[in-house]
Symmetry: C2
Subunit: 462 residues, 2 copies
């Protein structure tokens, strides 16, 4: 008979540096694993800062036998054995008195692409596989994790079910041309007998329609899902592959309810001011940071699109030429308008509600006035549009009129109409660009630095 293995390993995960930093010093030896961030050799003692990426903080390793540290180089991975003690030096509370050292992976300092001096964002983008070893990218990775957990807690507390919606869909997003197409197995002409899914397949641009089906069954759903746009725009807030938080829920009839959920969930995120956020803001603009912090303690402004246009027009008269685009009722707000509204007029996040129905997608619920939709955008300083949402048109006849107005193929949306036919409830929801959120709360200039391995037109490393 086979034997049940008696493993020689402890089977336990060893303590991380984050865990070690909160340990009480004792006389027992502990093991610490990590990468060398810096080495300082003196005559009688040597110091090395060790980091393992579980914390924004490093652990100072002290070598009373400096020859032990002589082989250490930046970037090398090591295992240290020693005793944790209170640190007499400034800058850290604890340090490790090293007794022995294993170099697990060497690192030639002459060739190591991650240098101590400041590297340009372009250089680091070219080294996407090593970029996570920098302090800033490490903090960004942990901030994504913390932010997701905060949002997960919020939605769980409020009975939202986390749902995984399809990535491959049959919808080409109204033929807008910015959708990635899955290639047929062969390249024969239509009607594509060799489509893997028997019909053309695309990458999702939004989970909303799928979430509507789920919200009309389990009331409240949310997801954090990859989304794709085959757009060539190269701005600091667009990616070809990005993550979007979308929430959708039934039994809501007021766009202000939607805004409140957005505000509550984001204030939860802002409340958790981690060491990583502090590290990311360390060299950031103090006035930007102050505006961000202020957002936590105020009720966020809500204004109608019509009021917003009026304010923009007033400013355009007072300061002609400041806007490149003329603000005009019936047109979309330009990025410069959005930023002026939040940064200058309001000085914080602002919900703009009730945009003209004509410039909004087919599924938005028409207001009583017959010309605006029950929708909102959340504009935040230095980022612009962070969230967009609406009530969805749950009235079958109104939705059918909207299909006609938008010249959509009714047949392709049979299932979507079914949701209204069979006990459809009033419902609504929103979508939030996750990288834009990280950009806002982390003070990170470009969304390409807000995701580990960014993709944009012409660029896909790894």
């Amino acid at each position: 008979m086979f034997k049940r293995f008696a493993s020689t390993s402890t089977g336990r995960l060893q303590p991380t540096i984050r865990q070690v930093l909160v340990l009480k010093p004792t006389n027992e030896n502990i093991y610490v694993n990590g990468w060398v961030k810096s080495v300082r050799l003196q005559k009688r003692v040597a110091f090395a800062m060790i980091q393992d990426g579980t914390s924004a903080q490093s652990l100072q390793a002290v070598f009373t036998n400096p020859s032990l540290a002589s082989g250490l180089t930046n970037g090398a991975s090591v295992r240290l054995t020693g005793r944790l003690s209170e640190s007499p030096g400034a800058g850290q509370e604890k340090e490790l008195q090293v007794e022995s050292l294993d170099i697990l992976g060497t690192c030639d300092p002459a060739k190591y692409p991650i240098q101590k001096q400041t590297m340009s964002v372009d250089y680091l983008r070219d080294h996407a596989h090593l970029r996570p070893r920098t302090d800033a990218t490490g903090s960004m990775l942990r901030l994504r994790d913390q932010t997701m957990r905060s949002l997960h807690d919020y939605f769980n507390r409020n009975d939202f079910c986390y749902a995984h919606t399809p990535i491959i869909t049959s919808s080409d997003a109204e033929g807008a041309g910015s959708t990635f197409r899955i290639a047929p197995i062969t390249t024969e002409p239509p009607p594509h007998p060799h489509e893997f899914f028997s019909q053309p397949a695309y990458l999702t641009v939004s989970s909303q329609l799928h979430l509507e089906a789920l919200a009309n069954a389990v009331s409240r759903v949310w997801t954090l899902s990859p989304c794709f746009r085959a757009e060539r725009s190269q701005t600091n807030r667009h990616l070809a592959e990005f993550w979007m938080l979308e929430a959708e829920w039934a039994f809501t009839r007021d766009v202000h309810d939607l805004c409140q959920v957005v505000e509550d969930s984001l204030k939860d995120v802002l409340r958790s001011d981690s060491p990583d956020r502090q590290a990311l803001w360390k060299n950031g603009d103090a006035s930007k940071r102050a505006m961000l912090d202020a957002a936590l303690n105020e009720t966020w402004t809500r204004m109608s699109y019509s009021d917003a246009v009026r304010e923009l027009q007033r400013h355009d008269t007072t300061a002609p030429g400041e806007f490149k685009f003329k603000p005009e009722w019936g047109k979309g707000l330009q990025s410069e308008h959005e930023r002026w509204l939040s940064e200058k007029l309001v000085g914080g996040p602002v919900f703009v509600v009730d945009y003209p129905a004509e410039i909004k997608p087919f599924y938005m619920r028409l207001n009583e006035d017959g010309r605006t939709a029950a929708c909102f955008d959340l504009l935040v300083p230095h980022v612009g549009e962070l969230v967009g949402g609406s009530l969805r048109e749950e009235r079958l006849d109104m939705l059918e009129q909207s299909f006609e107005k938008h010249r959509l193929d009714r047949a392709a949306y049979g299932w979507y109409l079914d949701l209204r036919k069979y006990g459809g409830a009033p419902h609504g929801g929103f979508g939030m660009g996750f990288e834009r959120l990280i950009s806002w709360i982390g003070g990170i200039e470009n969304v390409r630095e807000c995701i580990p391995m960014p993709r944009w037109a012409g660029r896909m490393l790894l």
Copy 2:
């Protein structure tokens, strides 16, 4: 100046039925939203079961004025006003004494595709947009959410950073031909001047290589990511689009450490026996359920591949013809072998470790014996392979030999070799099919019922 809106709405999310069911009855009226699951009209009283999908339980609504309930039909969405009280009847603790009723969305019972009698899985797959309204799909959706939270807690507690790895990659998974290709913008011949990303792009089959880069920077990472296989196989455990949990961490040198993390995290999942799991198992096989429950309280068996093959061969001699495929050292284990090992030999989950290196991918770490890899598969009853993992080859020279052996293009993996050159730490990890996990713990026969909107060859609804 624009006015700050004074919203007429409460801005608060109304209580869900899950929340109502734990409220203390008072004399105050409450609102309840949901869908009608069944109606029972009597002469002096009427009853309706109301569900909103936030719980496996329904709320019984009592109409002392039965005419009020006369318009109610299954599937309609309603808003009820009434008083919560202790229920004198069997089967529920609380009920709602209804004072008034709004029908929010009607549902014609003659046309409603979701009927009370049992519907076939095929019928429900054809109605993917309404399937979430069935009890079983509702429970499955909530079980996914609960399972993900349980795993998120486990990994967070152990300092694993949740990471979003790329979905669109440059890797075609060693040209295995089961990878989805993103279509070029035009269909001109190679060298594809119109590739959106300047080079051919594919959908990811695994996040592992990307996670390795992150683990070599922040030590411990995990993800739950969509993965894609363009395989035509139509089994009950394969999907073209599925979700895979992958974890990867540095500073581990023993395959048993990997197994321990898998066992610990899955026992956390098994420990949370929710009402939804109970509902899913209600009509399930009691002996299957007993085997699942037993797994929580035992140390999971670990055996070597060589021992496994020996046991399989012994059984093949004792009961010739029971296996379709002859077990033989050096060949992969067939599905029938995997299930026999876990269901018959062990009667529970079993880790099989140290498979022949030849039948395993290039990145697995070679054992001292020179012919097996430091890897494992976790086999569980009624599902088969649930998890696969390994130590990764961190030795640069060994990895380069492996590239040669597997005839891989070294140039395409320059970044992967870099991870070993610059302070690479010993590391390992695993991948677990999330739908297979749901299938196992929920006793759900086919993974197509373990995801809201499944995709397989020839099938992509919505």
